[in-house]
């Protein structure tokens, strides 16, 4: 009897073990030839659908696909643009003074494209452009992107730079600000012009106009539908007086989001659904899109070279982005071919690279940095941890000025900086494919100063710094460190910080406690803006490739992060203002050097990682390209191989083969027996129609629409070759 039982048990274990040893995922045929499915990290919910409100990548991805801007990035270029809703532009030195006395030296004038319709049916006019930009400046929500319009147009950081008061009690300068906004953007029947109060041509202005916050809404749609039908409190676009705009300034929530998200753009796709409970959004093709399907791009008279424009040869009808799946389900769907684009945590890339049918584009330069931020004055109403009054230490919480006390706050910040093991973290969370910059002015930006020393891990120094805070060591503290749900590198960073603090406790018998909390993206951003996160980890993707775009949000008292942190240093503010105004490159870099030195001394935040990018997609997706500062996926450029065989469109190579090995069927960087094996597996398959069930276009190495001995021969001929593009992690 025992033998029987033993045999049964052994059989079961062998069966289960064999399942683990067998590669379960075979290369699938193309699924959904006319649809794209993107699986991003769980918790990656768009914060908003309002372009004026949007200042995060998850929202920008949706907005870019539904709305158009005046200009758009030309492929991978950061300096060249293709015309979208504007057909041409000029920059003039006008030396014009507005009626309220604002001196404007330069003016950008844009001719607006004609015969473009919004999905609501309304015709695009220059008034819509004027309305959209002015609406954003009026809204100017706390922590939003509008500082990028205030700076060039009004030479300030936001409406709060003046005494504007409130909607019920307008301040003495409310009228002045209203007039300045009104006159900053003007339009006539054909053109829109921007009057720049900034003392210079403001080089990043075109890049700012190419981003999601510059998307164009229909003024008529807002008035007829948003205000007229839905009765939402939205600015109608009129100036009956110059103080009523305050009613629409810095609202608690965007009228385009609350109570339900609504969108109406001129873009290539229309929003079908944004379901927060089911965790996905879907857009469908705008069949009347003014650029057409497949696109026939207008020959731009400026500044782009039409020959370089990536011209889509196909399209997809629908695109869905979901954040419902954690890694196990997400990876299964990716491997099975149900997901076309997948967010792959760095530590799991070993399970993905080299799998048949998957493409990993690597290395991608990244102008982004993830940092640990300290809030200098935490809102005690926070649900994330106990916050005591100023200077009051307890073991179960922290004082609200724990990181920001003018006398000893620097010591707690430095102590945390010393308590983080950067080397181990970068190795484990990024497999060594990242660096920890010293400040937010990261490598890749002009005026980056590599001589500024970075932070190091040293728990003795960390303890010394804690000891300099009166009453802290004896009492202890409990601090909550937060990150956005699903972001595994940030989760690992929190864990690494906790490990460092625990190491101090073990060595010096202190009672310092770090609690780790993850929050979904939308409430995470909300809590950050309300200064309710004592410490938080978040990333910054460049809006434009200039050190000012990092110095301002990180270190200026009105900056996106610094304002949420309540960090303020007049010397730093002054340096940042000088930095953007200085046109001499040498002098400018000296200013940014001073900013970096001061930032290192003050440590309002700790840069944790600047990682090399990796992009994962099914290899039947065609048309994706990478732009360092453009967030998300732009579906208009995409189609699937199934839809348009590339042999039929020789003029439009689907992607650049020059650095790749066509024989490297499984994209693992080398041609070996696996590639020959995969090709053999598909032997005899043809493209069709109908598509053969074992067809896999990567195995059709010579692109003759059938997989035969020639393909196997090609693979065998290049056996042993390696790709210069793919480099496995160390």
């Amino acid at each position: 009897m025992k033998k029987v039982v033993s045999l049964a048990l052994i059989s079961v274990f062998l069966m289960l073990g064999s399942l683990l040893l067998t590669p379960a995922f075979a290369a699938p045929v193309i699924k959904r030839p006319m649809g794209i499915y993107v699986a991003t990290i769980e918790g990656g919910v768009p914060e908003t659908v309002d372009p004026a409100w949007c200042y995060d990548t998850a929202s920008a991805e949706l907005i870019f696909n539904v709305y158009d801007t005046l200009l758009y990035f030309d492929g991978e270029s950061l300096e060249h643009f293709i015309p979208q809703l504007a057909t041409e532009y000029t920059l003039q030195e006008v030396n014009w003074t507005s009626p309220e006395g604002l001196f404007c030296r330069y003016r950008y004038t844009f001719k607006i494209r004609q015969n473009v319709n919004f999905t609501s049916g309304h015709l695009l006019t220059p008034k819509d452009v004027e309305y959209s930009i002015e609406r954003g400046m009026i809204q100017d929500r706390c922590g939003g992107p509008q500082w990028m319009f205030y700076e060039p147009l009004l030479n300030s950081w936001g409406a709060e730079a003046w005494n504007i008061g409130t909607a019920t009690v307008p301040g003495p300068e409310a009228e002045l600000v209203g007039k300045m906004i009104d006159h900053a953007v003007e339009s006539n029947a054909t053109h829109v012009w921007f009057n720049l109060a900034f003392p210079g041509p403001y080089a990043p202005f075109l890049q700012i106009l190419s981003q999601s916050w510059s998307s164009i809404l229909s003024k008529q749609w807002v008035n007829e539908y948003v205000i007229g039908t839905l009765h939402r409190p939205e600015w109608p676009g009129d100036w009956p007086d110059y103080t009523s705009w305050l009613a629409y300034h810095d609202p608690a929530v965007s009228p385009l989001d609350d109570p339900s998200p609504i969108m109406c753009g001129t873009g290539p796709y229309k929003l079908v659904i944004l379901d927060y409970a089911a965790k996905y959004w879907t857009v469908e093709r705008n069949v009347n899109y003014w650029r057409g399907w497949p696109a026939e791009w207008p020959a731009p008279p400026y500044p782009s070279d039409p020959a370089k424009n990536p011209t889509p040869a196909g399209y997809v009808d629908t695109a869905t982005v979901t954040w419902a799946y954690e890694w196990p389900a997400r990876s299964s769907m990716f491997l099975a071919g149900d997901v076309d684009f997948c967010a792959v945590p760095r530590e799991y890339i070993g399970t993905i690279v080299g799998q048949p049918g998957l493409r990993c584009t690597y290395p991608l330069p990244v102008l982004a940095v993830g940092s640990l931020f300290f809030t200098f004055d935490v809102d005690p109403a926070t649900p994330y941890g106990t916050i005591n009054d100023y200077g009051v230490f307890t073991a179960d919480g922290i004082p609200r000025d724990f990181f920001g006390n003018p006398t000893w706050g620097i010591h707690t910040r430095l102590a945390f900086a010393y308590a983080f093991d950067y080397t181990t973290y970068l190795q484990t969370a990024f497999l060594g494919e990242a660096i920890a910059p010293a400040t937010a002015i990261i490598p890749g930006l002009v005026c980056y100063d590599g001589s500024i020393p970075g932070y190091t891990y040293n728990i003795d120094k960390a303890y010394d710094e804690f000891s300099k805070v009166p009453g802290l060591v004896g009492t202890g503290f409990t601090v909550t460190v937060t990150y956005n749900t699903g972001n595994i590198p940030r989760q690992r960073a929190c864990e690494k910080l906790k490990e460092g603090i625990d190491a101090i406790n073990a060595k010096y018998h202190t009672s310092f406690v770090v609690n780790i909390v993850n929050i979904d993206w939308k409430p995470y951003l909300g809590a950050m803006v309300r200064s309710q996160l004592a410490t938080f980890i978040i990333g910054w993707l460049a809006d434009y490739p200039d050190p000012h775009n990092f110095a301002f949000p990180f270190y200026h008292s009105e900056g996106t992060f610094a304002a949420c942190q309540k960090y303020s240093n007049p010397t730093m503010d002054d340096l940042i203002k000088k930095g953007i105004e200085e046109s001499d490159p040498v002098k400018r870099c000296q200013i940014y050097h001073d900013i970096q030195v001061l930032a290192r001394q003050e440590t309002p935040s700790i840069p944790l990682y600047q990682a090399v990018g990796r992009h994962f997609e099914r290899d039947w997706v065609v048309g994706w390209h990478y732009n360092t500062i453009s967030p998300g996926i732009y579906f208009y450029n995409l189609w699937k191989w199934y839809y348009v065989p590339h042999s039929e469109f020789p003029d439009y190579p689907p992607y650049d083969y020059s650095n790749r090995l066509p024989e490297d069927v499984n994209y693992d960087g080398k041609v070996d027996m696996k590639d020959i094996g995969y090709t053999c597996k598909s032997y005899g398959a043809t493209y069709g129609p109908p598509l053969h069930e074992r067809w896999h276009f990567r195995c059709d190495i010579n692109n003759d629409r059938k997989i035969d001995m020639k393909d196997i021969g090609f693979a065998a001929k290049d056996y042993g070759k390696t790709s210069s593009v793919w480099a496995p992690p160390p």
């Binding site: 049964a8 659904i273 089911a278 629908t318 979901t322 419902a324 954690e326 389900a329 649900p383």
Partner: protein, 350 residues
């Protein structure tokens, strides 16, 4: 004096008893919230997360008497709860009540398929195991039960997904495939009557939806079944063994009854009581969330939401979920008590 009660009276009496039990549970839950400062408890009354400014929170503290004695706060809160306002769930970006309503059907749909199999098959195998004690069937059943119970659900789920989705392409993760989800959410041809997609598909005449939902339910239900059936098998086996050792069974056998008659008429019914108790608790605990299984399969039910809420210190969601759990358990106990009365007529006596 002992008085016989009818079944309906018995149920009615238990239902009335339900009210003080739920009130007691709610009071306990609310008392726990008193550990938090008023600023955090204010979240229980806010419907819009954007309203979390210090000024608004001060207003909420005053409006809902959050600095007043416990009993005043409790009744103020209870009034809100009775109106369906359990606060705002930051995790779900929705009111807690609707978050539960939206997610419960997903969990329920899995349990509807898993629970009957767990109970009926578990009972059958447990009884057979006891009847054929120390025979091959007993050994195999017990071994399988132990293996099932020992399997980590995330590992087992992933293996099943690799085979039945990755390799065979039959049973995908999630609750619906993308196109069907899109149809269900946005088509005017589909009404979500119950939130149970299999049932709703039938009610809408959209059998493709039902079939798709069914395909998605199979794997999570299987994981739960394989893991949890062990408990029922073990309990059924031991209670059956106990019943089989009783004197009346020996008497029945001595009377010349067949093995089948002895088991079906005399032993099985007595063995059912502990199984019913365990089944009630098991189903109730499954209904309040199967966290890991839902997470592995991306099923989006109550369990994954509750776990996420706890991780994110989402106090209103956690409290709302606790209330829901308490109510489910109270109802489950009531059902179990009613079943007792069916199984054993003596229990109908007060």
């Amino acid at each position: 004096m002992v008085r016989k009660l009818g079944l309906l009276t018995y149920v009615a009496r238990r239902l009335i008893l339900l009210i003080p039990v739920v009130l007691g549970v709610s009071m306990l839950i609310f008392a726990i919230t008193m550990c938090f400062p008023p600023t955090i408890r204010a979240l229980l009354y806010i419907r819009n997360p954007q309203a979390l400014t210090p000024e608004n929170i001060e207003g909420v503290i005053k409006k809902y008497h959050l600095n007043d004695p416990f009993y005043i706060q409790y009744f103020t809160w209870l009034a809100q709860v009775l109106q369906g306002n359990l606060g705002w769930s930051q995790t779900a970006s929705a009111p807690v009540f609707s978050a539960i309503l939206v997610r419960f059907p997903a969990t329920f749909e899995i349990i509807v398929f898993a629970a009957p199999v767990i109970i009926i098959l578990g009972l059958y195998l447990g009884i057979q195991s006891a009847v054929y004690k120390d025979k091959i069937l007993d050994h195999i059943t017990r071994s399988a039960a132990i293996i099932g119970w020992s399997l980590p659900s995330f590992w087992f789920g992933f293996i099943l997904m690799a085979v039945f989705y990755g390799y065979l392409g039959w049973l995908p993760p999630g609750r619906l495939t993308r196109e069907v989800q899109h149809f269900v959410d946005s088509s005017q041809l589909f009404t979500k009557y119950t939130g149970l997609y299999i049932l709703d598909g039938i009610l809408n005449g959209q059998l493709a939806v039902s079939w798709d939902a069914f395909k998605h339910v199979i794997l999570p239900a299987t994981v739960i079944t394989v893991i949890d059936i062990a408990l029922i098998i073990r309990v059924a086996r031991s209670s059956m063994l106990e019943a089989l050792s009783k004197g009346y069974i020996i008497t029945a056998k001595a009377k010349g009854l067949t093995q089948k008659e002895v088991i079906n008429k005399h032993a099985r019914r007595n063995a059912l009581i502990p199984v019913t108790t365990i089944s009630g608790l098991l189903v109730a605990s499954l209904m309040t969330g199967v966290v890991i299984t839902e997470t592995v399969f991306g099923f989006g039910g109550l369990g994954s939401w509750a776990a996420q809420s706890a991780q994110q210190l989402d106090v209103p969601s956690v409290l709302g979920f606790a209330m829901f759990t308490a109510i489910v358990f109270v109802i489950a106990n009531l059902i179990v008590d009613v079943l007792y009365a069916f199984i054993d007529p003596r229990i109908r006596l007060a």
